[in-house]
């Protein structure tokens, strides 16, 4: 039993060490004469600056019912502007190509926010498919049917034995060409097939950890094998596999950064692009890291909640 005071001393030492680490990062930043410009980064995340809306061609402004319509001289499709904060032109004004005709005060998500959204989207979709694949191949691994077991073993060994980066290239350039995948589909396929192999192993281990008596008791009540799996074995296995599954899902989110090699603009690729535009590499990469941490942290928090709920029967 830890005494209360020693616990607080422990926390205090922790805070001290963390402060020293942060200080070390700060001073090493100083020592290389790096000028921190966090302000430069912000517009790449969310742009709050007033936007200028420009005319797409020469023509005449028509203002009616809150809309600005620019009728072009060459009779082409009129430009309609219905979201703006202030109009800079009046009815009947002559307008030339490139004129600022209105201002708009609205937030606009920058490339980093879009990248974050892409990372969340591709990870989430891949996670669902990975769980499905993992469940199917995990069940095949413990099935009576020898062919199913062989297939599952081959899948797991093949995928675990090759690097994800190589798999992404193979899926995109070979399978993607044959089946005509777009980048996003190729990314989802590569990530879910890769993670699915690990989930399959976790599922297999989870099922095998449930005592054989559970299956026997279920079967002795007249349950079919699928029903016994669904109502008796898998719910118990889920509880045991949640911690390793959480780790695998966090890996999936981090591994999703590799899809940037097939030009999917996820958080990592967005970071790379913003670095070349903002000349603030330290700020960008720290921000990107923090955003990954936010996503993975949210996920592990959600899984911990689920674990707590399932532990009611302990």
């Amino acid at each position: 039993m830890q005494s209360k005071s020693s616990k607080w001393i422990g926390h205090g030492i922790y805070v001290l060490i963390m402060a020293m680490l942060i200080g070390a990062v700060y001073f090493s930043g100083k020592s290389i004469n790096y000028n921190w410009h966090w302000d430069r980064l912000w517009p790449y995340v969310v742009n709050t600056e007033m936007q200028q809306i420009r005319a797409n061609g020469d023509g005449t402004a028509v203002v009616k019912a809150g809309q600005l319509v620019i009728e072009f001289d060459d009779q082409s499709q009129s430009q309609v502007i219905d979201t703006y904060t202030t109009l800079l032109v009046g009815n009947g004004d002559l307008i030339f190509h490139g004129d600022t005709v209105a201002h708009l005060n609205a937030w606009q998500f920058g490339p980093i926010a879009h990248g974050l959204w892409m990372t969340v989207k591709i990870s989430f979709i891949s996670l669902i498919f990975a769980v499905l694949l993992g469940l199917i191949f995990g069940l095949m691994r413990v099935a009576k049917n020898q062919t199913a077991r062989d297939l599952s073993l081959t899948y797991v060994e093949l995928i675990r034995g090759t690097p994800l980066l190589v798999q992404i290239f193979i899926v995109y350039f070979f399978i993607g060409t044959v089946l005509d995948f777009d980048r996003f589909t190729a990314g989802v396929v590569a990530l879910s097939v890769f993670t699915g192999a690990y989930v399959a192993e976790i599922v297999r281990a989870g099922i095998q950890a449930i005592p054989a008596g559970q299956m026997e008791a279920a079967r002795s009540l007249g349950m079919t094998y699928p029903k016994a799996m669904r109502y008796i074995v898998l719910p118990q296995a889920l509880k045991r596999t949640l911690p390793p599954l959480a780790g695998q899902f966090i890996n999936l989110i981090k591994d999703s950064s590799l899809v940037s090699v097939i030009s999917i603009t996820d958080l990592t690729k967005a970071g790379r692009e913003v670095v070349s535009g903002s000349f603030a590499p330290f700020e960008v990469w720290f921000t990107v890291a923090a955003l990954y941490l936010l996503v993975t942290g949210t996920l592990s928090w959600a899984i911990q909640r689920l674990e707590k709920r399932l532990s009611a029967s302990d």
Partner: protein
């Protein structure tokens, strides 16, 4: 004993042989019958094949050769759906095998709900009756980890009864229990016997066997050596192996 199945008996086993994959000969030409309403107790030393034989009666163990008919189903006939047969045969295990992620009441309800697909309101009332019957109505919302061994085994009996089986199999139901909890479980089994439930019980409780059994089977090394009424078995054991066994356990 090699006779034809008479079309009535609850259990008919003829020349049952069982080899394990490792070559172990677990059952050697076992033949017996259990009439409806009869309570048959199987005794014998560890490794004698008594649990194995019990488990062949709902096909938790497959046999290598021979015939088994349970409740009118020829177990290895193509037309027999083992899952239907098992619904008519309740089984109670040495290690209880309650489902730990369900409360006591849910354990009892799961088979009627998911196997028989019966409506929840009907099943719930019956399950509460059953849990009352085993004297645990105040523990029905407890998870198995919060029940004692004896209580868990009583829930397990109620769970097996929930499908209204014609035959109950007990595989050493008290062997994993602390001595002070053996009585409460045996009492439930005795009350079932009084109601005329057909039962096959593997046990080491000789006093209980003598009290509850209509017939006692003695097995050793996979062979069924003695099949007689309890008086003959316990008071005048004729078979020398049975004499030796009883001398050790009594």
């Amino acid at each position: 004993m090699t006779s034809e199945y008479n079309g009535e008996d609850m259990v008919y086993a003829n020349n049952v042989d069982k080899y394990y994959p490792n070559g172990c000969h677990a059952l050697k030409a076992v033949s017996t019958t259990v009439k409806r309403g009869e309570v048959v107790v199987i005794i014998g030393p560890s490794g004698s094949g008594k649990s194995t034989f019990l488990r062949t009666l709902n096909q938790l163990e497959e046999i290598s050769s021979g015939t088994i008919v349970v409740d009118g189903f020829d177990m290895y006939a193509k037309s027999t759906d083992i899952n239907v047969l098992r619904q008519n045969v309740g089984m109670v295990f040495q290690s209880f095998n309650l489902f730990p992620h369900m409360t006591a009441l849910e354990n009892i309800q799961i088979a009627p709900l998911k196997v028989a697909n019966r409506p929840k309101h009907e099943v719930e009332g019956e399950a509460k009756q059953l849990i009352k019957r085993v004297g645990l109505e105040d523990r029905m919302n407890n998870y198995p980890t919060h029940l004692s061994g004896g209580q868990q085994q009583r829930v397990a009996i109620a769970r097996a009864l929930a499908m209204k089986p014609d035959l109950m199999l007990f595989d050493e139901p008290t062997s994993a229990l602390d001595p002070e909890m053996v009585g409460e479980v045996l009492d439930v089994i005795k009350s079932l016997a009084k109601e005329g439930m057909t039962m096959v019980i593997v046990t080491h409780e000789m006093g209980f066997a003598r009290e509850v059994a209509d017939r006692v089977l003695f097995m050793e090394e996979g062979k069924l050596l003695v099949d007689d009424d309890p008086k003959a078995v316990f008071d005048n054991p004729a078979h020398p192996r049975l004499q030796q066994f009883l001398a050790k356990v009594l």
